[in-house]
Amino acid sequence: MHKLLLLGDEAIAQAGIDAGMSGIFAYPGTPSTEITEYVRASKEAKSKGITANWAANEKTAAEQALGMSYAGKRAMTCMKHVGLNVAADVFLNAAITGANGGLIFVVADDPSMHSSQNEQDSRVYGKFAMVPILEPSNQQEAYDMVHEGFDISERLQVPVMLRITTRLAHSRAGVVRKNERPQNQFKLPEDLRQFILLPAIARKRYQLLLDNQPKFQKLSEESEFNQFIPGDDHSMGIIACGLAFNYLMENYPDRKVPYPVVKVSQYPLPKQHIERLYNTCDKILVLEEGYPVVEEMLQGFLNHGKEIKGRLDGTLPRTGELNPNHVGKALGFPQPEIADIPALVARRPPSLCKGCPHADSFIGLNEALEEYGRGRVFSDIGCYTLSALPPYQSINTCVDMGASITMAKGAADAGMHPAVAVIGDSTFTHSGITGLLDAVNDKSNITVIILDNATTGMTGGQPSSAFEKIDDICKGIGVDESHIRVIKPLRKQHEENTRILKEELAYEGVSVIIARRECIVTLNKRMRQKFKDKQKSTT
């Protein structure tokens, strides 16, 4: 059959389209962004009427997916690992309500923090919510697991987590499609009280989730994604989770591992396979991408059993993503002699683009703040976080989406003045509005700079929920109109902009400065398209 060459993200998206998904809901976040982008660009998805819009944040996205599931249709919600923190409320409670139409939470973890502030492991969340977790080892499994995930979700009325990591999300390989399935018809839940989590009902639903655990366990034991692969050498048994299975196989060119192996790609952990491995092998090596989740479970608190090797005992690095060399070393293979990186090779960190409006905003802000000294700028998550690096070195914090405004408020309440928050337009509507409301209600002395480049820049220029709404939002939640200032961050307006910034920094109360100029990347893209359209119409 014809193979498509797809990123792991794209395989998941294509599988959703093929498996009768009616809607996909997400906020962009590396490495999950390409899932929703693929569906949005797909003509097939369009012709099938699949809903694929960017949401204001991961929580609103996941709740929309849950609503679609309530209405009996299949829905997917996608996010990066820290996005699940934002959607944790709905995720954990959706495990209690259960699903009606198939519901999949796709969560893309970022071990090694390629584009993230931590490397939290979403399997911990999955276990916390007590839902089945699927963890593909390759692009084909990622595709197949969407089909399987919707089936499990509908059969057992439970949301399913599909956990991937950066390396799979952004790696391309051939994928064979399955037969297409029609979308579900609109169908209310059989029990109209299923989704009402009043304590009396919630207790029953929670009990049902607990009662279903053995069923999830049985699914895992019987799952084709989990395998016991026999081996003759019982001096060691290997558990390889998700992507780590590939790194194991890479070390055996004939794909024949001498040790018994349990390949884990579905959770709860397949107990029978693992028990068989433990009982027949002298020690166990655990290979897993992310936290030592399985390793800790196996080891237990007292660690009185057989030797368990992995990330905790130093056999593998405690942090960062795995690779074939790490795994090869853990297996005891001699590693090839490798060349050093020549000393003259300089670091080349990412930087703001040439012509980026943020650059002008930070040059102005740095000058306006000169008289107060450094250490007063609370920032947020987006391209503008790069202003932490030279030559700007403007900001002092980057913690979680929206934290700029609220941290500035906390510092202002502690007596800091001026206290400055710098936040992007998309991040502002993601999680900044409620913090600004707190500041207005408490009359805190903060200056909020909203960098409005009319897009979600860092993830590749997705439409921003804030587009053309920021001024009205600020007015609507009560910011004094005379302290909502709009500037255009351009070099030639540097002096005027700096003057306005200085005025608002000196003001005691909540002030908002909207620095508005389109992202240079989306602007160039738009201009190129315009040029092309013009050429088309003249030929």
């Binding site: 952004h170 090839p336 020549p342 080349r348 990412p350």
Partner: protein, 195 residues
């Protein structure tokens, strides 16, 4: 057959286009392929790399093991050196000689080229000038691919077909320029190898 290739450059220099051309040609030749890309933060002018693996057998890891790559193809000289730990003992390094300077502490160009010349198997060419000569500076990445083509176990015609397919949507002019770029790169590498 197995080709493990590290593609290197700076965000925006078109290494994913090189990957797409080789990838399309590989699939058309019935090969297995895995290609790990860098998306997100680093694409903003930072160093980027892609692991491209071609094989007649199934491929396990998305990442090439250190010390095992058959070649490094780089559109920027300093970036070509960043991935030396991946290069195998028999591996080739094919690189552009023209620096992309977007950092204040970029090393002296001559020192960088000196490091490259230390490698027993390398092809270094000024792809910017060659690309300019065939019609567009932007085709420097395809010139480099052309220079790497003698080391890739895919018939050259398949690479040409891939260029026709991938640039076809953008117009005949671009197809023409990129085919010229591909051939010009190959010619330099062949001449180099005879030396």
């Amino acid at each position: 057959m197995k080709n493990d290739i590290i593609l290197a450059g700076v965000g925006g220099q078109g290494i994913l286009s090189i990957a797409a051309i080789i990838g399309y040609a590989a699939v058309q030749s019935g090969l297995y392929l895995k290609q790990a890309e860098v998306h997100g933060m680093s694409q903003r002018g930072g160093d980027v790399q892609s692991h491209l693996r071609l094989s007649s057998n199934d491929i396990a890891s998305d990442l090439i093991p250190e010390g095992k790559a058959d070649m490094i193809i780089s559109v920027e000289p300093m970036e070509s050196l960043r991935y030396l730990p991946f290069l195998g003992p028999e591996g080739w390094l094919i690189t552009n000689t023209e620096p992309f300077v977007n950092i204040p502490d970029y090393p002296d160009k001559e020192d960088v080229l000196q490091e490259i010349r230390k490698l027993p198997r390398h092809v270094a060419l000024n792809a910017d000038t060659i690309a300019d000569d065939v019609g567009s500076k932007k085709a420097a990445n395809v010139v480099i691919l052309g220079a790497a083509s003698p080391f890739i176990d895919i018939p050259f015609e398949k690479l040409e077909d891939a260029v026709r397919f991938l640039f076809g949507k953008k117009g005949e002019d671009l197809v023409d320029i990129n085919l010229k770029a591909l051939r010009a790169g190959r010619d330099v590498a062949k001449k180099d190898a005879q030396k």
